[in-house]
């Protein structure tokens, strides 16, 4: 067995694929090394839901046979990845991060798993998550079957949720990329906290067939990886129409940032206050430096405000209505009490009582949100804001209260952009942009529907000017 050098664990998709094709090592050896590291380090961060070492080993042998005869499947061939444990994997437990579903087994794969298999990627693991993706509203990071997601940069801090294990596994070099999902912030938050690049695709671009349904009109599946380019390559493999997903947009994606407008020609909407008074003080220097890097690239930064809507209440109401229906059996049967977090249990129970008129009011307002964002994107090309206002929260901090409070009277900036972006089905790209308190902080770029290539082009440009995405947690 060939020795696998340590730098491989943090290599990008493109770098790894080139080394495999150059026969620097066998995929079998590569996958074995990743699998061993995953089992060794994954539990340290509560990131691992289920190792799939045997299946991965079988697949790696096939990849080696293909590479031997130059049967090339593209950049993901032979690349190890992990899937958030809300994606069905045939014949193995898919727990949705929740005790009531600990023994759940599907007899089919999620469409995204099949698509990655066809692209030659090697699934090595199911990754931990917040129970039921946190739909009921959770108070503590411990709201998971696998325990609190611990941040590889500092295990006294949270990894973020609900795609906790996906972000952690990439940050700690346990997989080369991971699949996560977002209903409202579940890719943006863990990517920001763990210092990895994350992409929330446009609603409908990636099939949700085989994924846990939390909210049929909000759920999206997307990649977390070491770079914007990697996110683009993974999105290319997983995007596309799917008759098994009623929400599918029926459109594919080809990663082609070279055809996008250069950054110097773009108008980027932002609010200066988001990078100053609305940000935690420790994070402001990093955010200011990141803004300067965007300016240096030649972009025109335009002070912008979001259309005025109560984004949080709209999103919460839509989510409450849809999760009540999706989890009605769990709630009504009483098995909901087996969940780990009391606030989550209460939120799910209460959601059964949501009046239909409130859900419909929220969905009607959502129509206006979509229309007004369409107008906004005629004035700016993309929106820019911090991924989160500061670094990862402490692991025992209650998540449903407290948090950073800007001085009273501080302008709203782009507050609510995560909820707004999810309501309008907009894509978002998270880019690590520096450190605060020795923890990563990040930017988020939000674009009009189906403008992933433009976001990725900006992200790639930013990552050629900075090296934040290449930093590794200490001792890893």
């Amino acid at each position: 067995m060939a020795a696998i050098p340590n730098d491989v664990f943090f290599a990008t998709v493109t770098e790894l694929n080139a080394r495999l094709k150059a026969k620097e090592f066998k995929d079998e050896d590569l996958i074995r090394a990743f699998a061993e590291r995953l089992v060794q380090l994954g539990p340290r961060y509560n990131a691992l839901a289920l190792p799939l070492a045997q299946d991965a080993h079988r697949k790696a042998k096939l990849v080696d046979q293909e590479l031997k005869i130059d049967r090339l499947r593209g950049p993901l061939q032979g690349i190890p990845y992990g899937a958030k444990d809300l994606l069905a994997y045939k014949g193995k437990p898919t727990t949705w991060g929740a005790k009531p579903y600990a023994g759940q087994v599907f007899d089919y794969n999620a469409t995204v798993v099949d698509k990655l298999d066809a692209a030659g990627a090697v699934i090595t693991s199911k990754l931990a998550m917040v129970e039921l993706a946190g739909g009921g509203g959770y108070r503590y990071a411990s709201a998971s079957l696998t325990g609190p997601g611990l941040n590889p940069w500092d295990i006294t801090r949270w990894s973020g949720g609900s795609s906790s294990g996906s972000a952690t596994a990439v940050a700690a070099g346990l997989v080369t990329f991971a699949l996560g999902s977002e209903t409202s912030g579940s890719i943006v938050t863990p990517a920001s906290y763990c210092g990895v690049t994350g992409l929330r695709p446009t609603y409908g671009l990636v099939s949700r067939h085989g994924a846990m349904a939390l909210s049929w009109t909000l759920d999206k599946i997307g990649p977390l990886a070491h770079s914007a380019e990697d996110c683009g390559l993974v999105l290319q493999a997983i995007a596309g129409g799917d008759s098994k997903d009623p929400g599918s947009a029926g459109t594919g994606f080809y990663y082609s940032p070279q055809y996008m407008r250069p950054v110097k020609d773009l108008k980027i909407g932002y609010a200066a206050v988001d990078f100053a008074d609305r940000a935690e003080e420790s994070a402001r220097p990093a955010f200011q430096a990141a803004l300067a890097a965007i300016r240096d690239a030649g972009a025109t930064l335009v002070e912008t405000t979001l259309p005025k809507f109560p984004y949080g209440p709209i999103l919460s109401t839509v989510l409450a209505g849809e999760q009540a229906s999706s989890f009605e059996a769990l709630i009504s049967s009483g098995k909901v009490e087996e969940l780990a977090d009391r606030a989550q249990i209460a939120g799910l129970k209460a959601s059964l009582e949501l009046p239909a008129k409130d859900y419909l009011k929220a969905m009607r307002l959502r129509r206006l949100v979509q229309e007004q964002f369409r107008d906004l994107f005629t004035k700016v090309d993309v929106l820019l804001a911090p991924g989160r206002p500061g670094p990862a929260t402490k692991i025992d901090q209650p998540l449903d209260r407290g948090g950073y409070q800007p001085p009273s009277g501080t302008p709203a900036g782009l507050q609510g952009i995560v909820q707004a972006g999810n309501l309008a089905g907009l894509p978002a790209l998270v880019l690590p942009c520096g450190f605060a308190e020795n923890l990563p902080v990040a930017l988020q770029l939000v674009g009009a529907p189906f403008t992933e290539n433009q976001l990725l082009a900006i992200g790639h440009d930013f990552q050629t000017r900075t090296d934040w995405h290449k930093r590794r947690p200490p001792e890893l």
Partner: protein
């Protein structure tokens, strides 16, 4: 400190998923009651917005 529903609506961003950092004070002891209050607060926040009669729900969701 107990918040009024309107204050709660202003403070609550998203109840869940990736918890938004909010400005709300310590919730009442009863979690279920708190969750119900949050739903009501959300409804009151939505009620502040008048809708044109022709505005249909976003069922045909086309981003």
């Amino acid at each position: 400190m107990k918040l009024t529903r309107r204050q709660l609506a202003a403070a609550v961003c998203a109840t869940a998923v990736a918890p938004a950092q909010t400005n709300q004070a310590a919730p009442p002891a009863d979690d279920l009651q708190t969750a119900r209050e949050r739903l009501k607060a959300n409804a009151e926040a939505l009620a502040q917005h008048d809708l044109p009669a022709g505005t249909e729900p976003a069922f045909q969701f086309q981003p």
